[in-house]
Symmetry: C4
Subunit: 237 residues, 4 copies
């Protein structure tokens, strides 16, 4: 049975709503893309908005799902690609939040043979790269959507222990230990892609992070400091 609104972890839901607004306000999602959080009280459930543009999401739009991505006591239309969330939560118990986006600087790397690598310390979590999901390897000619468990499982498998996976011609799936970390990583994954492209275009030699540097640099503040100002900006817009 679904939790009543009264039973939900309200602070978690509030953060999820704010995450939706921040991702829209910062241009990481447009009318599409979505962000989920694992239920802090039941690790086998997660919260995700009904099918709606992230910039418009309110607490009332949040649906509770089990890890097979079945809605709990809710009949509203869900995102077709909710399996991204459920299937990753199944295999990554430490992951508490997931962003799926089509952020503009990331897509070029998803269709290029050139790999995204860390060039900026705020994106050190990228290390020497993130995997790129090729849906043709799983299902041949498709509509590109992670619209069933099989595709979700294949994406989760490719993701492995990485903080993110790109999806060819589509976008990215980004995970975090908190909603704030998942949002911060989605933001800096995109920014790093832009910076790397600009660095490569200069035509000289590019210095990427060394693996040890990336490991030492990656643990940030969970993007707490940025969250506060992103939240304010999203509220003004």
């Amino acid at each position: 049975m679904a939790q009543t609104k009264q039973e939900r972890d309200q602070a978690l839901i509030d953060d999820l709503v704010t995450a939706n607004h921040i991702l829209a306000s910062e241009g990481i999602v447009d009318g599409y893309g979505h962000v989920s959080v694992r239920d802090s009280r039941n690790p086998n459930h997660y919260f995700l908005s009904r099918s709606l543009a992230p910039g418009l999401v309110t607490a009332a739009d949040i649906i509770e799902y089990d890890l097979d991505s079945n809605p709990i006591g809710d009949t509203r239309t869900g995102y077709k690609e909710r399996f991204i969330h459920g299937e990753i939560y199944k295999v990554r118990p430490e992951v508490m939040a997931i962003v799926h986006d089509h952020s503009p600087a990331v897509i070029p790397f998803s269709v290029s043979s050139v790999h995204l690598r860390a060039v900026a310390h705020m994106a050190a979590f990228i290390g020497d790269g993130v995997p790129v999901f090729e849906i043709r390897d799983v299902d041949g000619m498709t509509d590109m959507l992670i619209s069933n468990p099989k595709r979700g499982q294949a994406l989760a498998k490719l993701l492995g222990d990485h903080p993110a996976a790109l999806m060819r011609g589509h976008g990215a799936a980004v995970v975090g230990a908190t909603v704030k970390e998942a949002v911060g990583r989605a933001y800096y994954l995109d920014l790093n892609a832009k910076l790397q492209e600009q660095a490569m275009l200069l035509g000289g030699k590019v210095t990427y992070f060394e693996p040890e540097e990336a490991r030492k640099t990656a643990p940030q503040d969970g993007y707490e400091r940025a969250w506060d100002v992103w939240k304010r900006k999203a509220a003004i817009k």
Copy 2:
């Protein structure tokens, strides 16, 4: 005789006004460009604003036209290039809305020998390309404008069954089965152009959509979900 305001399909007019504002708010048009919708009650007529920057259009500015682009009972100045709309409606009965824009990422592809192709799933409708209209082939040295039926007919012929045509050194004409689809396609045509350029600049191999993938991916939600948030953003601005 023109319909009275009372007789018009008010929901359609409202969507057309919103379309104008969204295109301006999202940077797909600036002071120029226009969007039309076929009259839902009379397929031989269409609605289009008088000559005005799209960001300023209200319901009172909408003129009713026949498919030869003659205004119906209206003497206000119309867009010089309204023939883009009328001539396409003539040959594409399933098309219900048309956007003409000069969106900034599209123009470079209109003057380059490099073709625009689908790299992102939201723009899968592009498939392996859209035609580029060369006005010199029709009328030699011109002022570049589709300001008469002959030029409009040539553009409509080149467009054929495609969802869009680029216009060399000028912009694009984008069609849809609804106002929302035409606006969404104009938005993602521009975004795909930007993404393709960035992907090409990385210097590696670029993976474009396969024709079958494009066909399967193209049917979206008619961009309904994006429309809702674009509308809210346009209202705030």
Copy 3:
């Protein structure tokens, strides 16, 4: 003697103030740059703000100058580079307004051996190019500023009959038959620079406007339609 506020052509002054705000709002100027208009009642005088960021200019900030760029009955600090305006007005009697800006897409062309050329119909006035002012040819090692009559005269001479001149490592001077035309040209000069760069980067063959096409396309509406929406946007900001 300076005109009193009552004697000034108030509509002209209002347009000049609006021009300042539009240029700031559209990112053609930042804290620097300026725009002037020739006095409609005395072709040997022109109006230009005191030294102030364009986004902050009000009617009270406007100074009247003679064509030697001496202020008329005004002791407030003027822009150091007002000679750009005075010297061009001297040799181009049909020019009624001048913009000097450092717009971001234009500067790269001012320091490159690659020439700016028209790729988009809204910028057809560029034709097959605009001259680039090299201040070293006039005065050797300088502070780059057109801060005296000699430099202003050299710039005006290089400008000749062109609609604009780039200034190496600095920006542009753009002229028009009205304030609206000068502002519109400054806007589209910058946009064309951006579009041309993107077109060149695609790596294929670029089709530029033919001279005859440019001549036929250039006469626009004086950017009246864009002005109306730019004005509204500037007022909201």
Copy 4:
């Protein structure tokens, strides 16, 4: 003992708060980065916000530090990288303000073998280049942060007499004789990087400032004129 709020140079604190807001509003900092000012009454102390996103800083958040970057009578959490400020103030007595940022156009130059050089007169202070700090030369594999005196001293030494130093994979440290100058330089350092990259991408020969030109051009108005409009924009946001 720390100064009471009453004893502080209030105009200086106000400018510092405004500087924080301008840097955020103009996109030179996001949730991270910081700006400090030397105490006008005690050159051995400086002011810097507690650990907080610059866009959210108020006068109440400002902490007083000695040049070893120890807080004076304040127990709130400070920025980990405050040593950038203290160590530069020690060796550059004429420097009165310092910005540390991760501005997006600068980072590509920090990881590329291609050097940033002055292409635009507003950034003439760059001259023929600024040094790039390689933290591996100082401390091997690190978390990239200037989080102790040793790293701060190494950065200050590399900076030498330059107006700025880039930090590989991280950002920049920019100094000025006033808060306004430091902010203006941070802004134009980033803009010049963007312009230089665009100029290089055109593929022709790029004309950089000659050393003598740069020296003559660099003394600006301390960016006073831009400050006024940046301040207004920041207040509106």
